[in-house]
Each structure stands twice: as C-alpha cells, then as structure tokens.
Symmetry: C2
Subunit: 203 residues, 2 copies
C-alpha cells in the first residue's frame, strides 16, 4: 500500500464523522484538485489552529484579543445575547436582526459529561455585567435538560444585579414546521405566547 495514501486516509479518518471509506473518497477528491488549491486549504487549517483566539470579552472565536463584534462601536454594548457556542453566534448573525453583543458560554452544564459551571465562561459574563453599562441579557440557550440547568444557574447568578432586564428567546412552532409533529411543550408554549393578528390594512 502507498504510505502517502495510507497516511492521509488515517489522518482524515480521525476527523469526527469521517470513516475510512469517506477518508478515501476525500483523498481521491484532493488528488483531483490543483496543488495550490490543496495547499491553500491546508494553510487555512494550520493558520486557524495556530492563530485563532477567544475574545477576551465574549469568548467568541477571534483573530485578535477582542472579536470584531465586541470591537464594533456601532453595536449596542448594553445588550448581551448569551449563547452556548460559536455556531450559535454565526446563526444569529446571519439573521441580521441582532445589533448587540454576544457571550459564548462554551457549552452547557452537564454533570453526566462532567461539565461544571466553572468549565463555562459564566464568571466572565458576571464580571462584564458588573463592570457596568449592560441593560439587557438575552438568554438564547437550548431547551434541553442541560440547557435548562444552565439557564437556571445563570439566572441565580444574575439575581445580584438590580435593574438588569433578563429575557429568553421566544419558543414556538418554527416557520415551515408542522404543528402535528411538534412536541407538546413547544405547542403549549406556542399557545400561551400567542399573538394578536392585525387584520390586513387597506382592505
């Protein structure tokens, strides 16, 4: 067997969700690409691994000490949206609906997986709020058991701040989701938080 092929298949199959067969398929794909295209991919991976940092304020991934969002004077620094992970920031940013800052916890409290509150960036969040200037905390955390535990823990830590508005994102039936297949809790929430509909104007 070719050692070069063997090495690349072994290395690629270490990635999550990639078995030997997929690794081989990726290797064959890589073989068909131009050499400098492959080099720019591996360079991007190396640069990412060695260069990326966590924003000293919000724990989001960042190229510098503070991330682009925290460094942006046009963002609303008085509103912080607390999320579990970096991917959540990307998803919310894509909507273009939120102009405040984020705070990336880096996971959720999970005694089963040995993740304690001290493993998350909760102290950093508390310190940021204690420094002043924050008026609202939006908790955008999953409604899993671990997520709810984390939510509860953070709510407890936030009790010390008077005049701090604390909100969670709305729960309901997602656009395109069928009510028939939604779970009971989601349907209950969607009913409880129902909104009055305005009749179409001008008819």
């Amino acid at each position: 067997m070719s050692k070069l092929l063997d090495d690349v298949v072994r290395e690629l199959s270490r990635l999550p969700g990639i078995g030997r067969r997929t690794a081989l398929r990726l290797a064959m794909h890589i073989l068909r690409q131009r050499e400098d295209d492959v080099a720019s991919m591996t360079q991007a991976i190396d640069d990412f691994r060695t260069g990326i940092r966590h924003c000293a304020r919000c724990n989001n991934l960042s190229d510098n000490e503070f991330c682009e969002i925290c460094s942006d004077p046009n963002r609303d620094h008085s509103t912080i949206c607390v999320v579990e992970q970096v991917g959540d920031v990307m998803s919310i940013e894509k909507t273009g609906q939120f102009r405040g800052l984020y705070h990336v916890l880096g996971g959720v409290i999970s005694p089963m997986s040995g993740i304690a509150p001290s493993d998350l960036k909760i102290d950093l969040l508390i310190n940021n709020i204690a420094a002043g200037g924050v008026h609202e905390i939006i908790l955008a955390i999953s409604t899993t058991v671990e997520g709810e535990t984390t939510l509860f823990y953070i709510l407890n830590r936030l009790k010390q701040f008077n005049d701090l508005k604390i909100t969670t994102i709305a729960r309901g039936i997602g656009f395109g989701d069928e009510i028939e297949y939604a779970d009971e809790l989601t349907i209950s929430h969607a009913l409880l938080n129902r909104r009055e509909v305005e009749p179409p104007a001008g008819v």
Copy 2:
C-alpha cells in the same frame, strides 16, 4: 466574523459531502486538537497531493514509479485483476485472498459522463499483457450499465491474445444479504452458479 474561522470553513466546505455546518463542526474539532496533531494532518494532505504518483505498470496509487504490489517479487505476476479504482484494490487486498497483480482502469466507460475508452488505462493493460508472462485476467468490474460496457470493450481488446484465461468475479447473494431483497439478476446468477454442498465430514 473571524477571518481565520471564515477561511477554514470556506475551504473545508469545498470538500465533497461537507456543507457549511459540517465544516464548522470540523473546525471546532480541529480547535480541540493539539497543534502538532493538526500540523501532521495537514502535512499528510500536502505530502499526499504533491508526492503521490500512479504506478507506471498498473496505474494504482504509488509513492514510487512502480507500486509496492507490482514491485513485490512474491506476488504472482502472471495474474492481473482489473478493477475500476484505487479503492477496489484496497478492498480486495484487505481479504488477503489475492496474490496476483492489479490493474486500475481509473473509471468505467460512460458516454453520459463523457468518459471514453481512451480516458481509461486500457492501452496500458493491453501493452502489459502483450509484453508477455500474463496467464489470467480477472475482470472485477461493477455490474452497472457502464461497467458491463467497459467489460465488453475490454473483452474485445483481449481477443487478440490466445491462451489467455479471462475470468470475472462470481456474482451471487452476499454474505449477510437477504435473498428477499436481492434483485432478480443477482438471484438468477446465484441460482445458475449454484455449488454442490459437501456433507459435513466425520458424521
């Protein structure tokens, strides 16, 4: 958004079967690995892309002019197993049942995809046989329309060689496969090529 993260996600999502979401998950995984583990992965990819060659005899992937199999004096150089692609060599090698050489066509004839016989390494195969010393050609090609076309084309080209034994791999119900779900052609072949069962010895 972090440029480093953006770059790595964009590059990874160029790989087949990897969308933005998977690319992000891979990036997060890479972030959790040790720097030198990531470097050894990217090094393996670069070395593979720049260093890999095709064996001058059998077209299998190779680190040198001739692959390890073709260079092995202990292999049976009189038997050549013709396969579509590199992955097939790996699959057959894993069985440890075949001690001959291979010949990798590099695909199958497919007018729909614009793959002509001249795009495959068929001339190389004919030349190798013409050079002498080959007694058997095993055609291990898929039973797809394209595979059968390729098989037919090769059989025609092989007609010029007298005393050359030409075989194809057996078709039948795979181990662990249920007869109920096998297609008609496979069942027909399995019936036609039935084998006599020896009664257990010593009873």
